[in-house]
């Protein structure tokens, strides 16, 4: 009888030790996904400088994507070194599908990928622009509240506002940052200038702790314009010593000619610059070819990388 008891005790002890081991492993795994900003760098939980390399999707703005397929696509990029996904979100399409968003947030967490949540001001709804601005901010704050315990999630202010003055934009940032910090003290936020980040005037009235600058860089409307455009430097050149930089979107053109040689050449030029200075960058986009055309990095049907996708993946290990 005593022998049996002893065996039971040993088994229980082993279970406890094993559980503790598992728990600590889990804890460690969750803890791994943590970011903060120091000077002009992203720093992870091990105090290492981390260069975020991500891919983005408008899936939640479109709200019609099969998440299983989407995560398969993310996995392909993760295997190649991507450590961040950017999700663009429209308020009215996000609220009814928060469960889907939860799925993706936790999927990223269990796969050690950072998530950059960027609610988008719907510029198509020009009838109700002011309300759109307000509802976008409202969604951001609700998401911060929802995922405040998930340290792998960072947040962004949409870098493509619609005809806002700097005063207006400044106020938007100030209010957003102040209110976000009330919900999550150590929140990491990406802010942007006007006109795809081109016109960042500074003078924002808050502490820049855990703040980074997000740029969307498309220098020309179409290839013809791109050929004529002389790009001497990049939008972020004058900020790289002072701020942590994320090149959230980039390409040669913003209207026509996506995927053309010149567009892809510019795309590569940005990546080379980002890797040279260890700036974080996000390739737009992993959305389906039929939705994003020449901006797509991958063909969902064949799972093959597009020309742009190849440039992107080649850059990941540099």
């Amino acid at each position: 009888m005593r022998k049996i008891l002893l065996v039971i005790l040993i088994i229980i002890e082993l279970i406890v030790i094993f559980s503790a081991f598992l728990f600590s492993k889990n804890k460690e795994k969750i803890k791994r996904n943590y970011l903060r900003i120091e000077k002009n760098n992203f720093i992870d939980q091990d105090n290492n400088i981390v260069q975020l390399k991500g891919v983005s999707t408008m899936a939640f703005a479109r709200n019609e994507y099969d998440l299983t397929k989407l995560t398969e696509i993310f996995t392909i990029f993760k295997k190649n070194g991507v450590n961040l996904i950017t999700l663009y979100l429209y308020p009215d399409k996000t609220y009814p599908t928060l469960a889907k968003l939860d799925y993706l947030i936790y999927w990223a967490k269990y796969n050690s990928i950072f998530v950059y949540l960027v609610p988008v001001i719907d510029v198509n709804d020009y009838r109700n622009h002011q309300q759109r601005i307000a509802s976008t901010k409202e969604l951001s704050l609700k998401l911060i509240e929802r995922y405040k315990d998930e340290s792998h999630v960072i947040y962004g202010v949409w870098a493509e506002p619609y005809a806002m003055s700097w005063e207006e934009w400044k106020f938007y940032h100030k209010d957003f940052v102040d209110r976000s910090r009330l919900i999550k003290k150590d929140i990491v936020i990406g802010i942007s200038g006007l006109d795809n980040g081109r016109r960042f005037f500074g003078g924002l009235d808050f502490d820049y702790k855990n703040i980074f600058l997000d740029f969307h860089d498309y220098p020309a409307k179409n290839i013809e314009e791109l050929k004529k455009t002389t790009v001497d430097g990049f939008l972020w050149d004058k900020y790289i010593d002072r701020y942590s930089i994320m090149i959230g979107e980039f390409g040669g053109v913003y209207h026509d000619g996506f995927g053309a040689k010149e567009d892809n050449d510019y795309f590569k030029r940005v990546i080379d610059n980002a890797n040279k200075f260890k700036l974080s960058y996000v390739g737009y986009t992993v959305d389906r070819l039929e939705d994003a055309g020449g901006q797509s990095l991958i063909d969902w049907n064949t799972k093959k990388l597009t020309e742009k996708g190849k440039i992107f993946v080649e850059s990941l290990n540099k």
Binding site: N26, D125, H129, A134, E138, E168, D195, K221
Partner: protein
């Protein structure tokens, strides 16, 4: 949300200047023939330059213009859609100036008796008054290029005499965003009426903005807003984005001049999209400089009640009412549904599809989403897309057990209070089952199995 709006408004009010903007927008009508002759009106698809021409649109001596009735009806139709008063008597005038693309030395336009006056377009920042809607003829097109190594300017008269409607607003616009919103809405209304394609790339719709800044201090003094004693015209802008950027630049430029104690010069400026700046083109003319007088070749036009009634009967349901109706009936957001149609005819077809959805007890909202994002076109396609596969509970439970085992971290997250983690498990079950299963059903099956 409301607080945000109030605070933003206050931010604007703190500014020392009020921006005053009026827009003049030219739109080429897509009538079959030109405004004052029977030449084909299709300059964008012409195989060669100068093939759609005749003595009238080339301005040859002795040629007599005859006004295009359809163009007049369409201009009035637009005026009615913009809530304008229609003048019972109207006439065409000659506007004199020299330019190589205008061989007559004058443009046939309308001066003091336009077809339509006093309309209104609603924007999210308030109504924009329409001063007038009038008709005129377009000019020829100058093409600057190199021929045999020499820089030359060529003229194509295929566009000369194309009916052009001009819509002029009151100075009711107060920021670049509102200007863009108004212009976009106007284009939407014109396309809805199906009177023009408003192709901005090709010059089928051209935007001009008159911009000036009013000192708020002078307003306080006089307690009423007077228009500034100058205005700057930003001309020939061919995209909404450039309109917005150009206005923003101009506001900043004028602010700097005013703050230096000077008054900006009254002038016409162009917009350089590459550099995102505006630049001087010429100092601004006044109406008197054009020596307007009634065109003696075209008799005044009387718009009697029966003709007006006929035009009105051809007007579609107002666009705003269409959106409002769909919003009330099906909870459809205008910004989404507007992506699915342009003309009134197309909106009618769409309405038929919505009714079919209702009959078949399908969600119109989801149908519209599928139309926009999945590019489906019929209710049948939608039905096929949304059919749900049935899996019995026992089979599902086996899958759930497997998923819970493989995702212990999500299970422990859920147990530790992160209840949203259950949605990850739901997704994993769907992934494993490879079938569409109702979300609520899965949650109710997973919860007890976690506990």
């Amino acid at each position: 949300m409301i607080n945000d709006k109030i605070q933003m408004t206050n931010q604007f009010q703190n500014s020392n200047y009020k921006t005053i903007i009026g827009l003049e927008i030219h739109v080429e009508l897509k009538t079959l023939s030109k405004m004052f002759c029977s030449c084909k009106n299709d300059p964008f698809h012409a195989s060669k330059p100068n093939i759609y021409t005749c003595p009238v649109c080339l301005g040859l001596p002795g040629a007599l213009p005859v006004a295009n009735k359809k163009a007049i009806e369409w201009a009035i139709k637009l005026g009615l859609a913009l809530g304008c008063k229609i003048n019972k008597l109207s006439k065409f005038d000659r506007k004199h100036y020299f330019y190589p693309d205008l061989p007559k030395g004058y443009q046939i336009s309308q001066y003091d008796m336009p077809f339509c006056v006093n309309g209104k377009v609603e924007t999210s920042s308030g109504p924009v008054g329409i001063t007038r809607v009038h008709l005129e003829e377009d000019t020829g097109k100058l093409i600057h290029q190199k021929v045999n190594g020499r820089n030359v300017t060529l003229i194509d008269f295929n566009r000369s005499g194309v009916p052009l409607v001009e819509i002029v607003t009151e100075p009711d616009i107060h920021c670049a965003a509102q200007a863009k919103e108004y212009a976009k809405k106007l284009r939407q209304i014109i396309r809805y009426l199906d009177i023009s394609d408003c192709d901005m790339e090709k010059g089928g719709m051209r935007l001009e903005a008159n911009i000036s800044l009013q000192s708020q201090k002078s307003k306080v003094k006089s307690q009423k807003l007077e228009l500034p004693n100058y205005k700057v015209e930003l001309k020939n802008i061919n995209s909404f984005r450039f309109l917005e950027r150009g206005i923003e630049y101009e506001i900043e430029r004028q602010k700097e001049i005013l703050e230096a104690g000077k008054t900006p010069t009254q002038e016409t400026r162009g917009y350089n999209a590459e550099k995102n700046i505006t630049y001087t083109q010429r100092t601004k003319e006044e109406a008197a400089d054009y020596r307007y007088f009634p065109d003696p070749d075209i008799p005044p036009i009387k718009i009697n009640d029966s003709w007006l009634k006929e035009i009105k009967s051809d007007l579609p349901v107002p666009l705003d009412s269409v959106f409002k109706g769909w919003q009330e009936k099906y909870h459809l957001k205008p910004e989404l549904v507007e992506l699915l149609f342009e003309t009134a005819e197309e909106s009618k077809k769409l309405d038929g599809l919505f009714e079919q959805c209702v009959k078949e007890k399908l969600s119109v909202e989801k149908f519209v989403n599928a139309m926009v994002h999945k590019k489906i076109k019929t209710v049948e396609e939608f039905k096929k897309m949304t059919s749900v596969d049935e899996v019995n509970d026992d089979d599902l439970k086996i899958i759930i057990e497997k998923v819970l085992k493989a995702n212990s971290q999500a299970v422990s997250d859920y147990k530790s209070g992160k209840t949203n983690a259950i949605n990850f498990l739901v997704g994993m079950v769907i992934r494993e089952a490879k079938k569409k299963i109702k979300f609520g059903r899965l949650v109710s099956l997973i919860r007890p199995l976690i506990k």
